[in-house]
Structure formats: C-alpha cells, structure tokens
Amino acid sequence: MDTPVNKKKLSLKEKYSYLTRDLAWEPSYQSKEDLFPYATYEGIKVHDWEKWEDPFRLTMDAYWKYQAEKERKFYAIIDAFAQNNGHLKITDARYLSALKIFLQAISPGEYAAHKGFARAGREFPGVGPQVACQMQAIDEIRHAQTQIHAMSNYNKFYSGFHAFADQRDRIWYTSVARSFFDDAMSAGPFEFMIAIGFSFEYVLTNLLFVPFMSGAAYNGDMSTVTFGFSAQSDEARHMTLGLECIKFMLEQDPANVPIVQKWIDKWFWRGFRVLGLVSTMMDYMLPKRVMSWREAWNIYGEENGGALFNDLARYGIRPPKGWADAGEAVDHMSHQFMLALYQWNFGTAFHTWIPSDEDMEWLSKKYPDTFDKYYRPRWEHIKKMDEAGTPFNNFGLAKLCQTCQLPTVFTEPGDPSTLCHRETEYKGETYQFCSDHCCDIFNEEPEKYIQAWLPMPALFQDPLNGDLEAWMKWVSLENGSDNGDYQGSHDQTSFQKWRAMTTSN
C-alpha cells in the first residue's frame, strides 16, 4: 500500500481556483487572438486576467443541488396555483395588464440575456469571468422559462398573453425593451457586461423587480411572487458579477475609465427609458398600490445608486450624465406614458383605463407638485369625452425616438408644459429623439442606430400602408378582446363572473 498522499489543506479560494481558472492553458497551436477574437476591439485594456476576483464560488455540483431544490419548490407552487384557480385570488383583472407587458417585453429580455451571457462566457480570455458569465447564461434561460410557465395559466383564462412571441417582434411598445437588449448584444463583450451585468442588473434591477414583486404580492398573484422569489438568489449572484466586472475594468488600466464612463452614461439612460414601462405599472396598473414610482426611485434609485456612485468615485467615475434629468423626470414619466398608452390603447395587447376619482386622489397625494397641475386636467378631459360617448383615441402617427423607441411624449427638463423633441441629421436623413441623452447616444454611434427598426413607421409602409386591421392581424392582436379600455372588456366580465361563482354559495 502506498503512503497516503500528503495533502495540504487548500483554502476555499485556492480550491475554487483549481476547479475553474486552472482548467485553462496557454494555447500554442492557435493564437490567443484567434481563440478570443472579440476581446480587444472595444479598446478595453486588460493586463492581467488573474487579478479577477471571483464574485462567488460555486462549483457545478453545488449549483445543480441548490437550483434543483428551488425548481422543485417553484413548480410545486405553480402546479397548485393552476389546480386551485389561483388566478381568481388576484385583486381584480386590471392587475393583469402589468403581467402582460412583462411577458411581452421583459421575459424575452431574459432569453436575450441568456444568449448574450453564453457569448460573453465564451469570448472573455479569462476563465474567472467566463465561468461566472456561463452560470448567468444558464440562470437567464431559467428566468425566461419560469416566467412563461408561471404565466401560462393566466393565458388559459385571460386575453393579451396568447401572442407574446409574435408581439415581442412586432408590436410597437415591446421594441423599447427589445432594442435595449439587441443594443447590448450587438455590443462587444465588455460593453455587454456594463449594459446588462452592471447597469441593468446592478443599478436598475431593484427598480424593476422589487416594485414588480411587491405589486404581485399586494395584489394576490402568488404565481408571480413565486418566480420572483425563486430568482432572488440568482439575482444576488448576478449583481456581484456586474460589480466585479466594472471594478475589474477600472482597475486594469486608467485608459479604461473614460470608455466605461461613456457606457455608464449610455446604459443608465437606456435602462431608465425601459423603466418607463414599470413606472406606469406602479402608478396606474396595480389595483392595490404598493408605493409610487417616485417613492421607489427615491429608495432604489437615488439612495442605492447614490451610494454606488460614491463608491466608484475613487476610480474617477461620476454618476451617469442623465442622472439629474432622470430624477426630475420621475415626477412626470408615469403620467405622460400612461396618457400615451391610453390614447393608443387600440394598439396595445393589454388594457388601460381612466383612473377613478380615488386613483386620482392617490396620484395627487403622491405627486403633489405635478399631478394636479399638469395631468389631472388631461385625465378629466379624457373622462368627459368618454362620458359623452366619444372616447379619446389618437390614431395619428406617433414619432418614436430613434434611440429608445418610446413615443416622444416626454417634456423638456425644467419645463413640463413643452414637449421635448430633438432632431439630428445624418447622411441626409433626419432622426427624431425624445431627449438630449437619446440624441447623444445616437451621435456616438450613428451607424448603429440608423439600423433601428421602428415599429410605428412600419405600420404606414408597405405592405400595411396604414391599414389598422391588417396591422392588428400582423401583430396577432385580437381587436375588441386584447386591446382597449378595461371597462367592458372580456377580462373584466369573465373575472367578475368567475369570482362570483366561487364566492357565492
């Protein structure tokens, strides 16, 4: 018998290093440039990949074990939800508009993140970030799937869910989120990490998920609460990865700082515009409200973001350029966007409605400086037209911002009574923007943004040529069922009927 091997006790860090970064080798039959062809063109300089600090140390066996436990619980709960008509426990079916937007616009982003992280997990010439990115890649397909599975049951009973895959690619408002993720994926691996890993996962994710999940809990939607809860520990990992990534880039070379700063400016604003969807959901779409968008911004934006950028100041990073304008816009954006959604609600695969007197009371309390002054009068006007039997619909062509793809319905910073429009000429064409920041983003990379697919103009071009009915067919929108006002909708009548069946004796 051999003498036992003399095994020195490895620290956790050393052991993880043997189980990850020690697996790679210096290639000699192929060049590093050929193995990792996209690693340098963005201008980020990395001198030593060994300096990468693993943001978490998870081996595959542990990953399988923990994740499988969460999966078992998740599917047990949503099976029970389906079995027991859990959908009838929600406050009322207005709540579902938020879920429909989520499935059409956000869940596809989970898939895009999956794909993007798989690419990043291959393209970085360092094993540390590769392994962390690969784990996020597999987590993100999990998120896409758990969301679809959780909402599958709602689809069986309510309108607006059935065509999420078609609407992801065709309907106008989803291109806000789609273009965001397409933008990130068409960037190089380092910018992708700043876009998704840092700006989205670290700076903005709390603004999306915390309000969304608490909204679900307040409104009795156990199914959504469950997928949110189940994704939480994944998100914690993703956030540490995003933070490590940015610190690593900043520490590797001072020349990286201005590049990273430019990306932070861009991706903060891109993300903030996507969150416009969340703001309307929080302020207008939850029958039972959690907190206002303003309150959420103060906690998760202002406070957390402030602390983060204080921390990054030592690298020479300042808060994103649009930070102050964003803070100001928070008092307006949900109202401006909801008014837009309402007047174009013939073209949305979710319902909107005129806020009740009670709703307006709440809004004016939460937005004392803006709601009564600027937005209540507009809602009152819409309400009057509705009562007169001439509901307000805007069939005109909305100008979409060439960068963020939102309709240009936002107002000038410092002047809430003037609509903000920016224009730029590039190679003889004129392009429209919602804001200075979107215009700046375009000017940094015009060759990229002139490629943007704008869904509104598509309606007026061949083959649709402004034919609204044909457009609805093309976006798989069931007119009279998926769209329009909640009052009198199938969702409203079915929900009331079913709820009555289950509560009467």
């Binding site: 000699s28 193995l35 065509a163 690619d169």
Partner: protein, 330 residues
C-alpha cells in the same frame, strides 16, 4: 388579501399560446414546448453586431448546415432548465455518495501504486480537454440558431465544466495539487497528448456552430468517452483493482450514455433535412474522426501496451456504425 374560494371548475378559454398552437395544434402544450419553442427573437432585429457586422444578431447562416426550421432539431430528452437541473442534481448526489464511500474507507490509498499513477496520468489531463469542450459548447449555444438546438448546448457546457471539476477532484484526492500540476504539464508538453490538445485548440477557432457541435460532441466525445471511461477505466483499470476509480468516474459514463441520445437525435434530423446537409456532416465526421483517432491512440498507449490499435479501431467501428444509422453517408 386572503380570499377563500369555493372549488369550482372553470373551462379555460384558450388551451395554449398562439405560436405553440400553430406548431402543435390547439391543445395544451408541455413545459418543454412552452420553454423552448420560438422564445428567441425572430424578426425585426434592430442592429447588426459591432463585433462582426456581416452577421445578424441571431444568424442561421453562420453554418454550412441549412435547416428550413431550426426548431426541428429538438432534444429527445426534452431538457428544459428544470428537468435538466433535477436530473443532474440526482446524479451529483450519487457522485457525492461515491466520493464519500471512497474517502471514508481510504480506498484511494489502497490502490496499487502503478495503477494510481496510470489513473492520474490518464484522467487528470482530461480536465483540460473537458474545459475545451465547455468553451465549444458555450460557443454553439451563443451563436447557434434556434432554442431547441442551442439550449441543450448550454446545459452541455455546464456538464463539461462539472466533469472537469470531478476530474480535478479525482486528481486532488489521489495525488493532491502536485497531481494537477503534473497533469497540466502532461497536457502541455507530453508528446502522447499533443495531438489531442491540438485537436481541442483547432476546434476552438471554428466559428461554424454546427461544425463545432459535430467536432466536439459527436466526434471527439463520441470516441473519447467510450474509450477512456468504458474501456480503460470501467474495464481495464477496474480489472486491475481500480474499482474505486470507476466509482469516481460514474458520472461521465452515465452522462455519455444519456447525451449520446441527444447528439445522435440532432444528427439524424439534420441529415434527413437534405442530401447537402448529409454530405457536409459526412465530410466533417470523416475529417474529425480521423484526427480524433490519431489523437487518442498515443494516449491509450500510455495505459495499455497490447492490442491498442485493435481496441481503438473496434471503438471507431462502433462509432461509425452508430453514425451510419443516423443517415450520414460516411
């Protein structure tokens, strides 16, 4: 809000999502279908990649393989995230028990010296080959087209990483960190291993996702796993008193048996799509299996010195017979 609801049965107004009804008919869909089909953006992609403006963001034309519908390439195991992790967590529990069994009894120290050396020399360098496989599968997932084809590649990449970690643990258990250092030196410098390392590096620069799939998952794994794990570990080493080693590689043996169903399934559908596809697949498989065989021969030779050619050519025949059944004209 807590509402007590009477149990009533409500007739659903819709059976499934539109895109699934179009594919499978108007009936309830499985979770595999819901989680896999058409969940990738298909139209109106906004921007071309700055890393290669000749490509689309999701581009079916990166490969010489052509499919009318990439969603034909489904995974016969029907793995989506949940079924995948559940399957692997059961396997890892098993492996944990095996490691515990070996360690509790000190079986690693009871192995004959020569046999332990042989096992280390064979298995430890393979952790690097498994890392190469991870890189290749991450690439196929990242740049391949259609979720049903690419999703299992991500799972496969994580399996490859898991395997490289099991191999590292075997090295640590049997020979400590020196064994890992020795194994890496073998991988880098030992002449018996250089053809394999060259094979791995050469596949890592291919950017046709389907060719990477073939060179890695079909060909290299299709020869390496039966030769190394079934022939050398489970049969040869086990017969020499190395059953403990076979316990520690059980994951690899079972994993190969399972994943072979997937790779052959994909091959079969891709080959049946068109004679052109079948031709390209044959070309790749011939090219890469020649190289794989000559890369594996010297490695087998370091373990056994008799009937080496015979053993490898038997495995090659078995491999070719399996491929022939998929309709690829070798």
């Amino acid at each position: 809000m807590q509402i007590d609801l009477r149990t009533v049965s409500i007739e659903p107004v819709r059976k499934t999502f539109d895109h699934l009804a179009r594919r499978f008919g108007d009936k309830p869909a499985s979770r595999y279908q819901e989680g896999s089909y058409d969940i990738q953006a298909a139209e109106n992609l906004h921007y071309r990649p700055t890393w290669d403006p000749d490509q689309e963001l999701y581009d079916p034309n990166l490969s010489r393989i052509r499919m009318k519908d990439w969603y034909d390439l489904k995974d016969p195991r029907q793995f989506y995230y949940s079924t995948y992790t559940l399957a692997r967590s059961r396997q890892q529990e098993n492996m944990e028990a095996n490691f515990a069994f070996v360690e509790a009894r000190g079986l690693q120290d009871m192995l004959p010296v020569d046999l332990k050396e042989t096992a280390l020399n064979l298995l430890v360098p393979l952790r690097h080959a498994a890392w190469g496989a991870n890189q290749n599968n991450a690439l196929v997932c990242g740049y391949g087209f259609g979720v049903v084809f690419t999703q299992p590649c991500m799972y496969h990449a994580m399996d490859n990483l898991g395997i490289s970690q099991y191999l590292s643990r075997i090295g640590l258990l049997l020979g400590g960190t020196e064994a890992l250092e020795q194994g890496k030196d073998t991988w880098m410098n030992d002449s018996a291993w250089q053809s394999l390392r060259r094979y791995v590096e050469d596949t890592m620069v291919i950017r046709d996702p389907f060719e990477v799939f073939v060179a890695q998952n079909v060909v290299l794994d299709g020869l390496l796993y039966p030769i190394v794990y079934e022939r050398l570990v489970d049969t040869y080493l086990a017969s020499q008193g190395g059953q403990a080693v076979a316990m520690l590689t059980q994951f690899m043996t079972n994993w190969f048996t399972e994943s072979k169903k997937w790779t052959t399934g994909v091959l079969k559908v891709a080959a049946a799509e068109s004679p052109e596809n079948a031709q390209v697949l044959a070309e790749w498989i011939n090219l890469w299996s020649d190289r794989a065989v000559s890369a594996l021969l010297p490695i087998v030779n370091t373990v056994v010195d008799e009937r080496v050619d015979e053993m490898v050519s038997e495995e090659l025949d078995a491999f070719r017979a399996r491929i022939a059944k998929t309709g690829v004209p070798l």
